[in-house]
């Protein structure tokens, strides 16, 4: 408290303040506008300049001990630095040095050190202060529902994820236009879609679907506000869902080239295999549909069908090629 008194006393001007001795009882702060009680009687006129000349300096009073030296070890530091304040060398009782040293020297001391004042300090955020603040903030927090402790459970009950970003920086404006962007992510397996609806949805959506994670991402940034973009994204999802359940008349014209997956029935591979087997006379003499049907029912033919389908859908890999080789050997008894 002595420094506060000292600061306010300095504000009163260059009169004989030392003699005034303002007493601050119970934490009253004296402001510069307050008239001290016995101001009039102590003011003895302009200072004596007979021996010094017109430009002599006023004698500097003794500094005395700085506040840091008078601090006790068990004081409440949160009262010394209650909020973000610049570094004050005689308030912080640490022997701190900062700055690039001169040749053969050490970094400069803290007294009058501009580097220590420039850098943001965290003296107001000591662990004790943080604990105090959090204790006061704790009643405003709510508990996370205990039934949703794993990500899997969260996905099951809340499958739609909405992502948005807030930006905070110093500058001429508080606003950031990128803050309006909204990403809506949903797993297609959590939506009620049948086979046709799912295929149509994938065709409608195109690039926005990731096959590896089964996640559909809708990114909206066409509206100026985040709320509007979110509502637009939900609208798009609704439209996609309902449109994919609808079957249009022209969908009947779907050709083999439009198919998403390879199917062995009615394919050239099936025709060729059956032709070869009939010519090899595997099922005995005879031509016609019944022989083909009988051949199709055979186990080796089914295995061949599986291996070809897998090869076409999944691509070339060791296991698929191996399976195809085994199936071919079995079908032709090699």
């Amino acid at each position: 408290m002595a420094t506060r008194t000292g600061r306010s006393l300095l504000c009163l001007g260059r009169t004989h303040i030392r003699a005034l001795g303002l007493q601050n009882a119970a934490g009253r702060v004296t402001y510069a506008t307050e008239e001290p009680a016995n101001h009039q009687s102590r003011f003895t006129g302009p200072p004596d300049r007979r021996n010094k000349g017109p430009f002599a300096k006023k004698p500097r009073r003794n500094e005395g001990q700085s506040r840091a030296e008078r601090m006790s070890v068990d004081q409440d530091w949160t009262a010394v630095y209650p909020s973000a304040m610049p570094f004050r060398a005689n308030t912080v009782p640490l022997p701190v040095r900062m700055g690039y040293p001169v040749k053969g020297g050490v970094p400069s001391q803290k007294r009058g050190n501009l580097e220590l004042i420039k850098i943001p300090n965290f003296l107001h955020l000591t662990p004790a202060a943080i604990k105090k603040h959090c204790k006061a903030l704790k009643p405003f927090c709510t508990e996370w529902p205990s039934a949703l402790d794993t990500d899997a459970k969260c996905d099951e009950h809340f499958p739609i994820k909405v992502e948005s970003t807030d930006y905070l920086s110093a500058g001429p404006s508080v606003r950031n236009p990128s803050a309006r962007i909204v990403h809506l992510k949903v797993k297609l397996s959590s939506l009620n879609l049948d086979d046709h609806a799912r295929k149509k949805m994938l065709k409608l959506v195109g690039e926005k679907y990731c096959k590896a994670t089964d996640v559909l991402t809708i990114k909206t940034d066409s509206c100026p506000l985040r709320k509007q973009n979110f509502e637009y994204a939900m609208y798009l999802l609704t439209v996609l869902y309902h449109e994919s359940w609808k079957t249009e008349a022209w969908e009947a014209e779907k050709t083999v080239a439009d198919m998403e997956e390879y199917s062995w029935e009615e394919s050239p591979s099936q025709k060729n295999l059956l032709d070869i087997l009939v010519r090899m006379k595997v099922a005995g003499e005879g031509e016609g549909e019944e022989v083909r049907e009988q051949l199709l029912g055979r186990r080796e033919v089914q295995e061949y069908k599986d291996s070809v389908t897998r090869l076409k859908n999944e691509g070339d890999s060791d296991s698929t090629m191996l399976q195809y080789k085994e199936a071919v050997k079995k079908v032709f008894n090699l």
């Binding site: 903030l137 970003t165 920086s169 022209w250």
Partner: protein, 204 residues
């Protein structure tokens, strides 16, 4: 010494804020202005003229500062806080502060990591006119720090983020990415064509 002075100061601003904010509904003020000091506003304090705030009437009854509303809380699966600054030491201290605050408030920290720094370099002419062979180079280094929190409720996220953001040091920027969880809305549960069969329209 500092605390009673601060309280009195906050109360004078409280008067101004209360008269302005009383038109907001009860929902808005559960964690509004969660300043780390004591000026949390209660939504249904009576509208008194500002002169009465200089008396001790506000202190006489200790009002509960927390308002509970019926509105369901938002659920955040992930909140990712990315801080950017030019000084790595400042970000180190800030990370310590943020992680300690999260632990104290019971927030789940899933990951704290440091993405690589980015250095922006440019080469300019040293002189105003001619002397092309003499250039000067500047660089701007941006250091990053990312704190990922998981499983936060809306109220907790609001409180924590406001606390963090009010104590953001000068020269540091922040980006907060929130992932909200939503239920599948009712109009997507079943296709509408079951109840409203579509008429044959001419195909596009």
């Amino acid at each position: 010494m500092a605390a009673p002075m601060a309280l009195r100061r906050e109360l004078c601003s409280l008067a101004r804020i209360l008269t302005g904010i009383s038109h907001l509904g009860p929902r808005a003020l559960v964690a509004r202005s969660g300043h780390k000091k004591y000026n949390i506003i209660r939504s249904h304090l009576p509208q008194t003229p500002s002169t009465s705030f200089h008396t001790a009437t506000v202190f006489s009854s200790t009002p509960s500062l927390v308002t509970v509303t019926e509105e369901p809380d938002v659920l955040y699966q992930k909140v990712s806080v990315l801080v950017k600054g030019h000084d790595r030491a400042v970000l180190d201290s800030y990370e310590y502060f943020a992680t300690l605050a999260a632990e104290e408030l019971g927030v789940n920290i899933s990951k704290v990591y440091e993405p690589g720094k980015e250095i922006d370099r440019l080469t300019l002419l040293k002189s105003v006119h001619i002397f092309n062979k003499h250039r000067v180079q500047y660089e701007m280094r941006t250091h990053y720090r990312c704190i990922e929190l998981s499983h936060l409720t809306g109220c907790t996220a609001q409180v924590f983020l406001e606390y963090i953001q009010r104590n953001l040091p000068e020269g540091v920027a922040m980006e907060v990415t929130k992932t909200t969880m939503e239920k599948v809305p009712d109009h997507i549960l079943e296709p509408m064509w079951k109840d409203h069969p579509v008429d044959d329209k001419p195909s596009q």
